[in-house]
Symmetry: C2
Subunit: 339 residues, 2 copies
């Protein structure tokens, strides 16, 4: 072996096949532009050398990376996993690669990640929710990086969204709760700061209360971060109130699971003494006992459609179009009529 081995380059392939680097490049990127005979010769050289194009060089020269970035609040739980998986499958089919990072629900972290992804040459970005510093959208706009927002639906924003109406979805669930006679409601919510989904869900509950002539102020809301334990703690707090709520609507399934477990621990029967509902319909919602009444979100469809929209924006330069998906309430064991 002549030198201490280093990856073969386009040039090596070109030499071996007896053509110019341009021809090799074309063989790889646009095969029909080169005649059959040369192409097979080139391809032979490629596989003989085990050549893999250097990505950085390619991005630099082409100013295209066929990479799409996604920044999600967390990877630790299942909420985003399913939708993201579908998103990734779809972009993969179209020849793109996904770069994921998680912001841990911190706006500054998200901003940094956005810049990082742009610096890495991402052709487009998937973001969760609309709530963020408008400067970020300006920045992306100047850089001409298409963005699609998911998990939230709101037309006429800086970026098109492919999502669902969190407010209306939660309202529908709250309506159902009230139909069962509940009047003393409480909510356990994710932190609403910088999280439009959480905020809209709470608003949805208020909408429904208003429509049913209940005083909105009677809604007791506890905000907490996204962990089963915190759902449990919040539930305990609610249940030690002088006047216990008869239904606790949780902002997501994870918090609801915490609440269910805490009820079990406190010997409070569900749904006889208290009803509990979730949101998202993750797998856990049907595994747990009692199983969770919750709002089903078409995660896979959302991921797939967001991918289609984003790639369209990248490839046609279109400004994008918002898409609203339907959710529906799934009735399971954790919600029952008021005692």
């Amino acid at each position: 072996m002549p030198k201490p081995w280093s990856a073969p380059t386009l040039d090596d392939v070109a030499k071996k096949a007896g053509v110019s680097t341009a021809t090799v490049s074309r063989c790889l990127n646009d095969p029909k532009r080169v005649v059959e005979a040369t192409r097979t010769r080139v391809m032979a050289a490629v596989s003989e050398l085990g050549y893999t194009p250097n990505f950085a060089a390619r991005v630099m020269a082409a100013k295209r990376s066929f990479t799409i970035g996604a920044i999600i609040p967390t990877m630790e739980n299942a909420i985003f996993a399913r939708g993201l998986q579908a998103f990734q499958e779809e972009i993969h089919n179209q020849g793109y690669t996904l770069l994921v990072s998680s912001s841990a629900y911190q706006p500054e972290a998200e901003e940094e990640q956005i810049r990082t992804l742009v610096a890495r040459g991402a052709d487009g970005l998937l973001l969760i929710g609309h709530d963020r510093d408008p400067r970020i959208f300006d920045y992306l706009d100047r850089q001409k990086i298409p963005v699609v927002v998911a998990w939230s639906f709101a037309p006429n924003q800086s970026a098109p969204s492919v999502g669902f109406d969190n407010r209306q979805a939660m309202q529908a669930l709250a309506e159902q709760v009230m139909k069962l006679g509940h009047t003393r409601l409480a909510a356990i919510s994710a932190l609403t700061q910088g999280n439009d989904r959480a905020r809209f869900r709470i608003e949805g509950i208020r909408d429904a209360m208003r429509a049913n002539g209940l005083p909105e102020t009677s809604l007791n809301v506890i905000e907490t971060t996204y962990e089963i334990e915190n759902g449990a703690a919040a539930f305990e707090q609610l249940m030690s109130l002088p006047q216990r709520p008869t239904a606790v609507l949780c902002g997501n399934d994870v918090l609801a699971v915490g609440a269910v477990r805490q009820a079990e621990k406190m010997g409070i029967s569900i749904p006889d003494e208290v009803s509990i509902t979730g949101f998202d319909d993750i797998e856990l919602a049907r595994i747990i006992r009692p199983s969770l009444t919750t709002v089903h979100v078409p995660h896979r469809e959302m991921g797939r459609k967001a991918a289609v929209e984003l790639i369209d924006m990248i490839e046609t330069g279109s400004t994008g179009q918002s898409l609203r998906l339907e959710t529906n309430v799934i009735n399971r064991e954790s919600l029952g009529p008021v005692a």
Copy 2:
């Protein structure tokens, strides 16, 4: 605005600060090599222009990417999420970025992803398990890309591993099962093809049976892919055997959860009529009722230590050292004495 705006480059910063590009570059990468006065001037220019270095160009010139790649079998469930999260936290602390892809348990997909990550300039790789075509390790070796294998422990392999002894861990659990009087054992395993963890776990059961004078051949093993539904189906199949097993040891918690749910559906009481165990101790294991007796794996510790090891290999060029972590059996409700 003079031209249709495009991101500022090193050159723009250099001009604005009245220095050469070399100085700007040094300011960014090795600040102490440039005197205070110039440095502040440069930094001012940087922030004024909102400059972010172009990643591709940097990788290309420096032949270092400060990026580490990880290829995991799946993102869809929690098994790898926690360990990976810890891995990512640790490398982030050390200034590296993580690139994750999932192979969907397909060797060819994994091989392709490895090449992709290398082409993207990954400085090192995290892989799961030792089972793969040796050519891949040769390739990585020639490219001088350090690799650490996790979720499995086996010294004297092509790559160092930071993991646990799957075989011994499962054996310990099986011992406990047999201590409770069970002699009719069955197993529901992940596909063992190309999955050393799954294979070793089954071997562990056999070891324990042998040690207890049970005929290994009496162990009924069903292999299936990683989904709750499949665990349920496998369990149903086992329970319709003429002679039902009294204990079903599952290769992981997800399959065990499926088994538990199916038992519930069939009206089979756990652990009175049949005991079920899992492996991994994911969150679900303590949420489900009956809660799961399982093997606890120190996922976070493993992720963190694998990161430390890998970065050490990258930075010192060392060949790496294997590390064995301890697991322990967690006793919960799903395992009881034989009827």
